[in-house]
Structures are given as C-alpha cells and as structure tokens.
Amino acid sequence: MSPLATVIGWSLVIIVDLLALAVLAQIFLGKIDLSLLLSEPGGGASLSRFQLLVFTFLVGFSLFWVTIYGNRLPEIPNGMLSLLGISASTYAVSKGIQMTAGDGKAVIALDRTQGLLTAGQAITLTAAVNSTSQVLWSYTPPVGSLSFSGNQATYTAPNPVAAPTTVTVTASIQGTGDSASAAIQLS
C-alpha cells in the first residue's frame, strides 16, 4: 500500500471512528433513544426486529474478528449471505403484514416536522394519511396565520415577529387520536 493511500486510509478511519464514538456517547448519555429499538407499532417487542439485530451483531462481530486474525477482509461464506437474506426478508415481510393490517388505525404524517421562518415568510405543510378521513389543522400559540385546504396547510409568520418563539402546527385525523406536528421557529 502506498504511503498516500495509507494516510488517506488513516484519515477515513479516524473520521469514521470519531463518528462511531459520538454515536456511542449519545447512546450511553441517553440522547439517542433506543427504547423502541425492538418494539412493534402496536406495542410489545418485535421478534423480527430482535432476530435481525442478533444476526447483525453475529455477522458484524464475526467479520471483524476474522479480519483481525487474518489481517485481510475475509471471503464471506454463501451460507452467511443466505442467513442475512432470510433474516432481513423476515423483517421486511413482517413489516408488510403490519402495513397491510394497518392495525385498524388511521395514521397521519407531515412532510416536514420543523421549519425556520422570519417575519412575513410562509411554509406549506402536507399531511399524508392512510385513510379518507378529514384532516383537522390547528396551531399554537396563536401567532401568525394558518390557511388550509384538505391535506395542505400554509402557515404565515406575523410581520413583524414580536419575539422569537416556536409555533406548533398540528394535523390530526377527525374521530381518532392520531396527529402529527411540525415545530416552526420564528426569528
């Protein structure tokens, strides 16, 4: 390996390691929330998620371990690829079954969850809904204005902005408790 390639390699490894370290630190400090890592949408732990996680750990650990001893990237056995394929397919099919079922619930999501506006600026939000139910729009605190039609709403910041504040625009499905919000910062 040429010295230049080795220097580039070290640089990349250090960057990736720092990123990994940051992620780990955030996990152990509780800033990255893992509480729903193994959960299903309807509550309770998901077996398909758990087995995918276990196989991912197994394959990751095995490959790094073998690389340390062999000092080269190992050839991946076909059986291991099959195993990962089965594992990931199980997870994907399981999600498909859940999506098909919909768990009997209407689900809503906004195309953006945050925004930053200055005086007089406007932002348009679109709600995606998995049913034909009507979308209800609201915002709090009552600063600025909100106009809406169907699944689209446009929030306009006041002019001037009296004080920096965060306005929460909420879209909810009529007759259900499901809702989605976007935090709009005014500055």
Partner: protein, 117 residues
Amino acid sequence: MAQLLQGSVLQRFTAISGLVFVAAFALAVVLGVFERTICFGGLLRVKGGQWNGQPSPARMAALLSTMAFVVSFLPKVIEYPDEFKALDISQEWIFAIAGTHFTYLASKALVVLGRRV
C-alpha cells in the same frame, strides 16, 4: 511513525475499532433490556386476534432457532478465525432458520387475516 504507515497496521486498527463499536452497541442494547429502557415485553406472545396475549409457539421456535444458531456458530468463529470460509453455515441450519421464520410469518399473517375477515 513508519510502522503506522504500514497497511497491515491500518487494517488491524480498523478491524479492532469496528469490533469495539459492535461490542459497545451490543452492550448498550443488553443493558437497555436489563434496565427495561428497551421494551422487551411480549416478545413471545401473540399480538392481536382471538389469541392476543397468549404464548406463541411460532415465536418461541423462531427465537430458539436463532439463539441456538448463534450459540453454536460464534464459538467456532472465535476459536478458528483462520478457517472462516470453511465454517460455512450448513444447509440444515439454513432450513431450520428459514422454516421457523416462515412459520412465525405465517402465524402472524393468520392472526392479521383472522382479524380482518
């Protein structure tokens, strides 16, 4: 310094740091499960349908095949890292894991269909 410029040192360092990251992440998950910050309840129970909350044999079988495979494969990798290619997973294991996972998915689909019919 000259030693650091050797490719083999870089490769070994990369692999070790990757291993540490995987192990630390696994530790975070295990700690989360034991401290109950990661939800682990209901892993082996039927969700939905008329058997909601009952123990699920299909889930139990899938979990057992997964853990049995991990317990049998990992020690071999640790003990014989030089023969990794030769440690190819046997067809019997593939069939066992695929079969139990298929059973789990089929039971899950049945519960969903039962709820919708």
